[in-house]
């Protein structure tokens, strides 16, 4: 198992490096950042000076090697736009995003599994059909759409929740619901299908024939054996949620990392974009490693294979 974990972590580091490299070249394809940083009519010498300062005058491969060195030494750069060290910038913004993303993920997981289980047990009933229809709606509705609808309805018409900012607990409700809607729907559908499938297995009847009560049959044997794909999907939702937060934070003017990233990309603030992507890539990669390890924990057959 340890060998498997180490191998998996090394693969993860490689993935993150690949993503970082791609992003490095992608942002530089968008053009020269100095265009945004200097005012119109600035002298060419000033522009040249700035270009040297930013190292954008050097050939790309030299820039790449320099950046890689900086990355490894922890010198991640300086945001021209915010006039701040990027690490400090993310120290402010990241917690804001996490405050939103983590509860949303939890909400999605708990509600998703609960709804999926109910739908599966009452399979083909009215409750099941309702869950199926509602989840399709939330699955297909884009975050920004749902966000705007909520603002229109709950903030502007009913005046229950504020439409922007992160001042009170009330500010959390709408962005969290928006962010959790997609994952809840996905997880609910998957849990339902997986559980319906598991419940047709003969070992379910085997458990019933032991005299185990139906609720314990569902939890101990049904859910336990359906969980592998569900856990995978929950882990993958981390990517969806962080990606979604870029949109949701903009809709609700939430001062988080997503909002920062969008502005930085617009302004060719390379260092900010690069660190942002690095953080997201690392988080998603770690999530995937945890998913893989959880399979070993959930399923003895997987444990046997990786031994």
């Amino acid at each position: 198992m340890t060998g498997f974990a180490i191998k998996r972590i090394l693969k993860g580091i490689f993935t993150v490096w690949c993503i970082w490299t791609i992003v490095f070249f992608l942002v530089r394809l968008t053009g020269d950042p100095t265009d945004w940083l200097v005012e119109d009519g600035a002298s060419t010498t000033y522009v040249e000076q700035l270009r040297q300062q930013l190292h954008v005058d050097e050939p790309l491969h030299i820039q790449y090697i320099e950046s890689l060195k900086d990355l490894l030494t922890g010198n991640l750069g300086y945001s021209r736009q915010y006039k701040k060290d990027v690490i400090l910038l993310y120290k402010e913004r990241l917690p804001q995003t996490l405050k939103l993303a983590l509860p949303s993920l939890l909400l999605g997981a708990v509600f998703g599994v609960a709804l999926g289980t109910v739908a599966a047990i009452k399979h083909d009933s009215f409750a099941d059909k309702t869950v199926r229809v509602v989840t399709v709606v939330f699955h297909t509705l884009p975050n920004f759409c749902l966000g705007i609808i909520m603002i229109l309805f709950f903030s502007l018409t009913l005046r229950w929740f504020p439409s922007a900012g992160s001042a009170t607990w009330k500010s959390y409700i709408m962005p969290m619901l928006t962010l959790a809607s997609g994952p809840t729907a996905t997880i609910a559908r998957l849990t339902r299908n997986s559980l319906v499938n598991t419940m047709t297995n003969e070992y379910i009847d085997g458990a019933r024939m032991k005299g185990v009560s139906e609720i314990n049959v569902i939890i101990r044997h049904g859910l336990r054996n359906s969980l592998s794909p569900v856990v995978t999907r929950i882990g993958m939702q981390i990517g969806t949620i962080i990606g979604g937060s870029a949109v949701v934070e903009n809709v609700f003017s939430w001062p988080g990392m997503g909002q920062l990233l969008v502005t930085a990309a617009k302004n060719r603030d390379f260092q900010v974009v690069q660190l942002g992507v690095l953080i997201i890539a690392t988080t998603v990669t770690i999530a995937h490693i945890l998913i893989d390890l959880s399979h070993g924990w959930l399923d003895p057959r997987v444990r046997e294979q990786v031994k």
């Binding site: 085997g206 019933r208 024939m209 032991k210 005299g211 009560s213 139906e214 054996n225 057959r301």
Partner: protein
């Protein structure tokens, strides 16, 4: 009390969107303590549905027990609330299934699967108390060095060992009845012989009655005391194992026996084969269910269903032409 299980006029129908399939359509049988009763027939004859109806293991969404009494030690099981039924499953009546690989939960160890059935009927029992009993059980079902097997998962065991674990689970609470649904069909012949012998020995050791469901007449002949032959959801012939093999009376029973290639005696060029296929007849049934495939069917057979008639001590046949020689 004479009979440990009495089933009277059991009807279990399976409903699809377009039609009703009478999987079991009026089955009566009794089971005495320590008796091994064989339910034999081809796929679709209703033998498994009978067993599943007895313990309430039917898919309630599309299957319904339409009528019937299922008396286990005098208690009515049909319509019993699920809490009391859970108290009987795994303690009064246990069941083992055809394919042990899919009937054992894949993610739990041998120990925890057996512990679960003990715990379900004795919430006080601790793992330490159970351990000794589980090792003894595994020994009784013929698992070598059981201490080493306790922490194995089902996929680490061979098919024969898995079926033995299944049997250990079924016996953990000393049941009065063991229902074995095709217990050896998924196993190799040499392992089948081991498991059949084990079931016979366990019947004596645990003093339990057994219902053996099988499509294989030879398996039934080798361990059963009494046999019910089923066709189209009803019992067509019931007799002691000797009577049924010595003097089969129903044309279906005779046909089944003639269609098995034999392992001894002369090699036949051609086997007897029952013409046609099993057909679903929707209720109400107004003919003999076997008449379309029967060589001796008469007009009477096409107009009304023959009753199950006692023709000798404990020998019952459902056929109008039972006395005709052919």
């Amino acid at each position: 009390m004479d009979n440990i299980l009495e089933v009277r006029n059991l009807r279990t129908y399976y409903h699809t969107r377009t039609r009703t399939v009478p999987a079991v359509d009026g089955v009566d049988f009794t089971l005495k303590p320590k008796e091994i009763l064989g339910l034999v027939g081809e796929s679709g004859c209703g033998k498994t549905t009978v067993a599943r109806s007895v313990v309430g293991l039917i898919n309630r969404r599309n299957t319904k027990i339409e009528s019937g009494e299922i008396l286990f030690k005098g208690q009515e099981l049909n319509g019993m609330d699920s809490h009391r039924l859970c108290g009987i499953r795994g303690k009064g009546i246990s069941m083992i299934f055809q394919d042990p690989f899919v009937s054992l939960s894949p993610v739990y160890t041998v120990f925890s699967q057996i512990y679960e059935v003990m715990k379900a009927h004795d919430p006080e029992i601790t793992k330490a108390q159970a351990r000794g009993r589980i090792i003894e059980l595994l020994q009784n079902v013929g698992i070598p060095s059981p201490e080493l097997r306790l922490d194995d998962y089902p996929f680490q065991l061979s098919g024969g060992m898995q079926q033995r674990v299944m049997i250990a689970i079924a016996l953990a609470n000393n049941p009065d009845i063991l229902i074995a649904d095709e217990p050896t069909t998924a196993l190799d012949v040499t392992v089948q012989a081991q498991v059949l012998d084990l079931l016979l020995q366990l019947r004596d050791r645990y003093e339990m009655a057994m219902i053996l469901i099988s499509h294989n007449l030879a398996v039934v002949a080798s361990i059963c005391d009494r046999v019910c032959v089923m066709y189209g959801g009803v019992v067509v012939e019931e007799a002691s194992v000797y009577d049924i093999f010595d003097h089969p009376m129903h044309p279906y029973t005779k046909g089944l026996m003639a269609s098995i290639p034999s392992i001894s005696g002369d090699r036949k060029e051609e086997l007897f084969s029952i013409k046609g296929n099993v057909e679903v007849i929707e209720p109400p049934v107004t003919c003999c269910r076997f008449c379309k495939r029967c060589e001796r069917a008469t007009e009477e057979c096409r107009l009304s269903e023959p009753p199950l008639v006692e023709v000798g001590p404990g020998h019952k046949v459902r056929c109008f032409n039972r006395d005709r020689e052919d």
